[in-house]
């Protein structure tokens, strides 16, 4: 169920604030076991194992990079083949027109260029960035999510959403504050 943006108010979710990444990890794990799915954690640096704790998996970035890498090498080599063999054949020292060893460096650089750009652009696209506004920014103290605090949010859209259960799970695992967050 998507949010009705014509209504400026409304509950987005419940957000817990943690002091330590370990607590966040435990709370995320516990919330997953309680059956919450639409949740996300917010931290100032990447925490290894947190995706597993929340139950998040996504391998689209590596696949995109692979596909664009293949595209890059194809474009890089066929460009050289087309220019040197088909469109502008020129005898250089009696070498074959399709000079495979000499064409490797450019094909190689084209691969890297395509793959690297697709990695960065893919990250932005799949993360839906740039995104100037997000309800989570309304959370109290959220400016510390990029500094020294760790947050766990369960969205109200979660079918299993139950504020009391969530608050209990978060508090049990060391949340210093649990607050509601509006759109």
């Amino acid at each position: 169920m998507a949010h009705d943006w014509s209504d400026p108010s409304g509950l987005w979710g419940l957000v817990g604030e943690f002091e330590k990444p370990e607590d966040l990890m435990k709370a995320a794990e516990a919330a997953k076991h309680k059956g919450f799915r639409k949740m996300d954690a917010y931290s100032p640096f990447p925490i290894h194992g947190l995706s597993e704790a929340i139950g998040f998996r996504d391998n689209r970035v590596p696949w995109t990079v692979f596909i664009f890498g293949i595209t890059g090498v194809t474009i890089g080599y066929s460009l050289q083949y087309y220019t040197a063999v088909i469109d502008y054949p020129m005898n250089v020292g009696g070498r074959p027109l399709n000079s495979v060893p000499a064409f490797i460096p450019v094909a190689y650089e084209a691969t890297i260029l395509c793959a690297a750009f697709s990695a960065a652009i893919g990250m932005f696209v799949y993360n839906k960035l740039p995104k100037p506004y997000h309800p989570i920014f309304n959370t109290k103290n959220f400016d510390r999510a990029t500094q020294d605090r760790f947050f766990l949010a369960v969205e109200a859209e979660d079918p299993a959403y139950d504020a009391k259960v969530i608050e209990k799970v978060m508090k049990e695992n060391g949340a210093v504050e649990v607050s509601e967050c509006d759109y």
Partner: protein, 466 residues
Amino acid sequence: MAKVQERKLNDLLITGDQTYSSIDSSVDRLILNQKLHGKGWNILFLIGISLTGLLGLSIFWLLYQGIGIWGNNVPSAWGFDIINFVWWIGIGHAGTLISAILLLMRQQWRNSINRFAEAMTIFAVMCAGLYPILHTGRPWNAYWLFPYPNILAMWPQFRSPLMWDVAAVSTYFSVSAVFWFVGLIPDFATLRDKSTNKYGKVIFATLAMGWRGSNQHWHRYEQMYLLLAGLSTPLVLSVHSIVSFDFAISIVPGWNVTVFPPYFVAGAVFAGFAMVMTWGIPIRKAYKLQHLITDRHIDWMCKITLATGLIVFYGYLLEIFYSWYSGNFYEFKLLMKTRFTGPYAPMYWLLIFCNGIAPQIFWIPKYRRNEKVIMFICFLISVGMWLERFVIIPMSLTNNYLPSSDKMYYPSFWDVAMFAGTMGLFITLMMLFIRFLPVINIFEVKDLFYKMGGKKEIVEEVGANS
């Protein structure tokens, strides 16, 4: 026990009693508190900007008069322009090595030095890129280097190493810039949230693009970061290999050597680490960042410098061996008549001293912690690496197969002016970088802090085991 603990901690990569927010503020105060930048910054910026003016002037005069104002002559069609191009490109390589190769090898100590090393890479490649473009003589036609359909129905010659160079250097610059920018995004978000100044907030919010530290974002971000590191690693190795092909593919004596690619790459890393220390030591001193760039970092960087320096020295010895073993008269003549003796011989011997002998002082642990000694050796290395390219380029070109090639190469005033100018550009950009962007990767240092010191028990474990 407590005392032992303390010593071990000081040996770690983050020292002192730190928290996440103390790490934050020790880096971002350089941006948020502009009053911190004192006289030293002003003087260096003034020097940098004046020399950049000289660069502008020499480019103007070059475009007005043509490349005849340089010292390049007929046997030595490559002079200061190509020497400086290779020198600058080489300096850039340490940045990518630190950010990519050390990341892949899980050398987490890189986290506190990678940001300004990457900045150095980008600025050095910018300085490098100017030279070949201006050396074309008509830089406004430099786009001819790229393949595009044109009314002349011609295409670039992809069998030429110079075309490989165009592809390699432009790819290198673009990928390094992307790597650097995506690395900055989480730090921009931190600055957005900490900034109290209205303009600062708007600028950093725009640059952070709504980064909110979401785990899903971090997940894809980490995947991307690792992939970029994996792609940059072969890239950085290929770039200097390709630069060395500009020489090694030809048949000029002294250039046609198979050891060139690995020896160029090692030389690049060698020069780059020297430059990282040349900037890192004063920065950490001026802005009191010794708790993030510790003596341990400097010590390890010295060791890498020593190791790559030995590879470079091995390259010199191999060049000597090959010129004899190849049985090629011209190779041997170059060695005996131009390098060992002859008018340019002092430059060759100075090169051997700067790159081969001076860095050996890093074998002694005491000197790997002495900032003055390190700064001096790093200066010698920068000079030595410049001399290496001088030895390769004009010395080989002025001693060729034909007697008509026996001619001296002398740089002109404008050669020197332009070299000083690119140094000025580099200094200016570095100074602006220090003032307006986080010099240390904040989120990666916090990650390192979490892994090493944030959890008390881990600190004790590490302390006990090391």
